[in-house]
């Protein structure tokens, strides 16, 4: 009896120490971000003198004001928003329809087609970005939102997830509707889609984040500065920026570019973290 009590209290002490240690690491983890945000809120002249300090003293919002008045960042944000929204909505439509076909229909070639789609999971972007570039050159479509969006719709992860999700829905729900002679399309729209809102939300969030952060394909496809996404635009202002006079402005651009993603993350954190488990667990 006495020994278990001691063991209990020492393990509780251990728990606290461990938590303290990880807590310290968590603080270290956010310090770079705090520092960057602080720099974005300091005057450039002050930053020329010193970049030290985690608090924005002296404080200014000039860097953010300049962002909107003189920089290309707003234009890049619009491009990113168009591309990310288009890619997300189209991925949801394509994944849901194809997933429904694989989960609920019997048709010749189903197995072969499903394996063909699954194999695509193992094709990395780098294996296709050169031929894609020549294709879009041939069609004279580079530097368009269309070029930034369409090649990235061919990712089969969403189809795979939706197939698994639809398969797990009990058939009774559809059978009742089929007795009323509802068409397959109606069953899909009225029954299956509403049931899959949680899965679609997770898939949508991931697609949006991937689209927003996409780098290699926009890098080769969008060469015209006005067609940059914000991720690509940020790459273009790197280089010797650490020595530059406009350090505060660079930092403000980075903060601003991350804002939409950060907000999404804070709202949907639960969906995103559990979504990873859903994607990999299957």
């Amino acid at each position: 009896m006495a020994t278990t009590a001691i063991a209990g209290s020492s393990s509780r002490l251990g728990d606290w120490l461990l938590l303290l240690l990880v807590g310290a690491l968590a603080v270290l983890w956010v310090i770079p971000v705090v520092w960057v945000v602080a720099m974005s809120l300091k005057p450039n002249t002050e930053l020329m003198r010193s970049t030290a300090g985690l608090l924005p003293i002296p404080f200014t919002i000039e860097n953010y004001v300049n962002l909107f008045t003189v920089s290309a960042v707003p234009r890049w944000l619009i491009n990113s928003t168009i591309v990310a929204l288009a890619m997300t909505s189209l991925t949801l439509i394509l994944s849901a329809t194809a997933g429904y076909a694989f989960a609920r229909f019997e048709f010749p070639g189903k197995r072969v087609l499903f394996i063909l789609v699954l194999t695509g999971l193992m094709v990395p972007e780098q294996a296709v970005f050169i031929p894609l570039h020549t294709m879009f050159s041939g069609w004279d479509l580079h530097n368009t939102h269309l070029a930034l969006t369409t090649p990235r719709l061919a990712v089969p992860m969403g189809v795979f997830l939706m197939t698994q999700f639809f398969k797990a829905i009990p058939r009774e729900l559809e059978e009742a509707a089929e007795l009323d002679n509802a068409s397959r399309l109606k069953v899909f729209l009225r029954i299956m889609l509403p049931l899959s809102i949680p899965a679609l939300t997770t898939l949508g969030l991931f697609t949006f984040m991937h689209a927003w952060n996409d780098y290699l394909w926009p890098l080769v496809s969008a060469t015209d500065k006005s067609m940059y996404t914000v991720t690509l635009g940020l790459a273009s202002i790197q280089g010797n920026f650490a020595q530059s006079e406009g350090l505060g402005s660079v930092m403000a651009s980075a903060v601003f570019a991350s804002l939409p993603i950060m907000i999404l993350y804070l709202i949907f954190q639960r969906f995103i973290v559990s979504g990873i488990a859903m994607g990999a667990g299957k």
Binding site: W29, A98, F102, F105, G120, Y215
Partner: protein, 305 residues
């Protein structure tokens, strides 16, 4: 998700729906939008990439000449190609074990419920939502030898600051650090999910035997998450093999090609030197390597089941 998955047996009990006329046609209609996009933008480019790799093909202009496997022969004899392969492998060898160990340690520390732990989970995962360009911007600044955060820290401790990204020894570890900070969220989430699935009874039994913390970890926890650990390792190897943005933006491949990696070399060959035939050959090699590795994972997964 689990609630829905739990109803699986009930579904199996219902008889399969009978085939209706026109079903196949409808199925193809549902499938067509994705399948067309998939064939045009993934399957076809994959073969076209191989076709390009058999040519001396320039990015701009119409110059292209069929040269068979000459690009692959050149690749074999290209010292820089072997250098970037070695650099990439070094990066993978440094990053993957560190990432997996860090993710596992963090998961063990924060997987229990509680407000503080929940906030920390959010913090460690949070850095993975940034784009590669934001991550490289932050870390270039943090590691800057003159005005960086670490330089400030070194000076306040009376140490000489190091220009990490320009230093032959520190450049590669710097990329690893930035990558750990950026990427630990995904493996962390996988480990967390896996830890939450271990039945509580196992731990209760161990408590009755008053097993030590270490014994519980070694005998119960680690064996229970073995599958996830393998999954994390494979995903990490495949993922880190594709490193590009960090090297391109933080070190530019330097100093003296010390951090130039495969994808960066492909990009530079194709889009700076315009030799897309040669670049495509490298991309094919990269793809074959990674595909083989993924197949190995599938095979291992089958064996586990």
């Amino acid at each position: 998700m689990t609630a829905v998955a739990g109803t699986e047996p009930a579904r199996a009990a219902t008889p399969e729906r009978s085939l209706r006329a026109g079903d196949a046609l409808q199925a193809y209609l549902f499938l067509a939008p994705f399948l067309i996009i998939y064939l045009v933008f993934l399957v076809y480019p994959l073969f076209k990439g191989f076709w390009i790799s058999l040519h001396d093909w320039e990015l701009v202009g119409d110059y292209r000449e069929y040269i068979g496997f000459l690009n692959y022969v050149d690749l074999w004899n290209d010292p820089l190609f072997w250098r970037v392969v070695r650099n990439t492998l070094t990066f993978v060898a440094m990053t993957v074990p560190a990432m997996t160990a860090l993710a596992l340690a963090l998961a063990l520390a924060v997987h229990k419920p509680g407000r503080a732990r929940s906030v920390m989970r959010g913090v460690f995962f949070g850095s993975s939502v940034f784009s590669v360009t934001v991550v490289t911007l932050v870390w270039q600044m943090v590691l800057n030898g003159d005005r960086g955060l670490v330089a400030h820290l070194f000076r306040s401790l009376g140490l000489e600051p190091i220009n990490f990204l320009g230093d032959p020894f520190w450049a590669m570890p710097s990329l690893t650090f930035a990558t750990l900070w950026w990427g630990v969220g995904l493996p962390l989430a996988l480990f967390l999910a896996s830890l939450n699935q271990i039945p509580r009874e196992l731990y209760e039994a161990a408590e009755l035997d008053s097993a030590s913390r270490w014994t519980v970890l070694r005998r119960i926890t680690l064996p229970a998450i073995k599958r996830t650990t393998i999954l994390v390792l494979v995903l990490q190897i495949v993922g880190q093999f594709q490193i590009f943005g960090q090297a391109q933006l933080m070190t530019g491949g330097g100093p003296a090609n010390g951090t130039r990696v495969i994808v960066q070399y492909i990009y530079e060959t194709g889009f700076r030197d315009w030799q897309i035939g040669y670049a495509a050959a490298m991309a094919v090699v990269l793809f074959v390597l990674m595909f083989a590795f993924s197949m190995l994972q599938l095979w291992l997964g089958r064996k586990e089941d």
